[in-house]
Symmetry: C2
Subunit: 299 residues, 2 copies
Amino acid sequence: MSLLVVGSVALDSVQTPHGSADEVLGGSATYFSCAASYFTPVRLVGVVGEDFPREHCDMLARRNVDLAGLEFVPGKTFRWCGRYELNMNDCTTLDVQLNVLGQFEPKIPAEFRDSKYVFLANCSPRLQMNVLSQMQAPKLVVADTMNLYIENERDELIELMGMVDGLILNDSEALQFTGKHNLVSAAREILSRGLTFVVIKKGEHGAMLADANTMFCIPAFPLETVVDPTGAGDSFAGGMMGYLAKSGTWDAAGLRKALVYGTVVASFNCEGFSLCKFDSLDFSDIEARYRQFEELTRF
Amino acid sequence: MSLLVVGSVALDSVQTPHGSADEVLGGSATYFSCAASYFTPVRLVGVVGEDFPREHCDMLARRNVDLAGLEFVPGKTFRWCGRYELNMNDCTTLDVQLNVLGQFEPKIPAEFRDSKYVFLANCSPRLQMNVLSQMQAPKLVVADTMNLYIENERDELIELMGMVDGLILNDSEALQFTGKHNLVSAAREILSRGLTFVVIKKGEHGAMLADANTMFCIPAFPLETVVDPTGAGDSFAGGMMGYLAKSGTWDAAGLRKALVYGTVVASFNCEGFSLCKFDSLDFSDIEARYRQFEELTRF
């Protein structure tokens, strides 16, 4: 079924102990789209500036990402610059230039409004609600968020949580939002805001899915070499939503498999800078690692 | 099959956000024994001082822990005092009084020397090797260690690693020992020291088992209320070794199940101060949570 993502498209500069990459393709919507594209075509809504290299559009188009919703506006593309420490978990943001993203007001193209699966990547809850108001009858809406909005737009975020089916966020964000010190308590409180499910990402420690009745906990796929974790969370969401859109349901069993696919796709993404790893990745690789993950967790 | 543990018996004073406990029963051999006792009788070797309350011996005896190897010597029992922070992971050691543990030279009673399953709880690798030299023909020997010995007795620890089947240690200790920043690399390097398997404990994030060919990763059991995590690692080891000793094998499938039992028993231990939770815990509770854990991780 049709899958829409609204989020950022960026040019990233990344330093890691394995090297660095300058002005490479990044952004939440980009990572999400590439990851999801292994499962289903993706409709992307975002904004870039005049300086955005056309070859990135070509790459996305080749991956079955529909760019009818990618606005080109005067100015420079959103830029992010960060450095990862030796453990590859701690990341210092060195520079952020919002540029054209600062004035972004997502306009959903008419032909995208019937999308059944919708992912509201990390941006202001006000904009996320604005996107929702443009949609016709989505079957599943999942939103991401971050510390900035938890701190500065808490009321709007809570309003959004009553309007979407699922929320996906990091462990530290779940604790921050709830003021709790325990993820199980945090998950329960987040669910009480009107969500059907919440996915808490724990980076190298895996992920947790909670709904009113059950929980599902999985480790991350253990990687010996993490080259660049940028976009891992968005790739996770892309694998997860891509699988759900492809299967056309999101029952409890489907959500569990979706989390595993998200985990698998995110693990590949961490093995190269930017989206490089996706260049050489086939769906058969994803299926093979999915089976490895089964083997890794079976008892 | 017969299971032996050599380790500390302590009187702990613990402060947590949930309250505090003064001079309560603790120590690695104690936690291990109680946890393992759900699966098989346990033989304990340790030392206490004249001040050690006899009711603790009675409790252990009731749990089928054979105390023939518990020495009573003049002086005071080992004491540890610590404080857990709000997240229940960070722990500050406020005071350590080695007392009679400082001169401990484990003497394995003649009737314990035929033990087939041996757990060398966290103590000096020199003493751990000394214990090994007293054993007849153990079928499985697993050792624990800690940052202190990694730092100060590295050569002896490496020698020990060539003499045991398995090593169990925390993630931070695995990284410290190897100088790596990645647990998969660390596990491989640890294995190269002559071990058949290594278990890396990650606290609230679960555990990882690695041998030459495979890995097994599991989350921790998600608890909403952690009252006191003291002894969680030793309870984990107790559940693991208890299950293995009971089943009488330690093949790959058995080790996986053993890690899950360890996880389950450790989770119960965290729900009360000291060993209180074990007072009211039946094997049927462990089996029920084992099934919950299956449900929690199945996809």
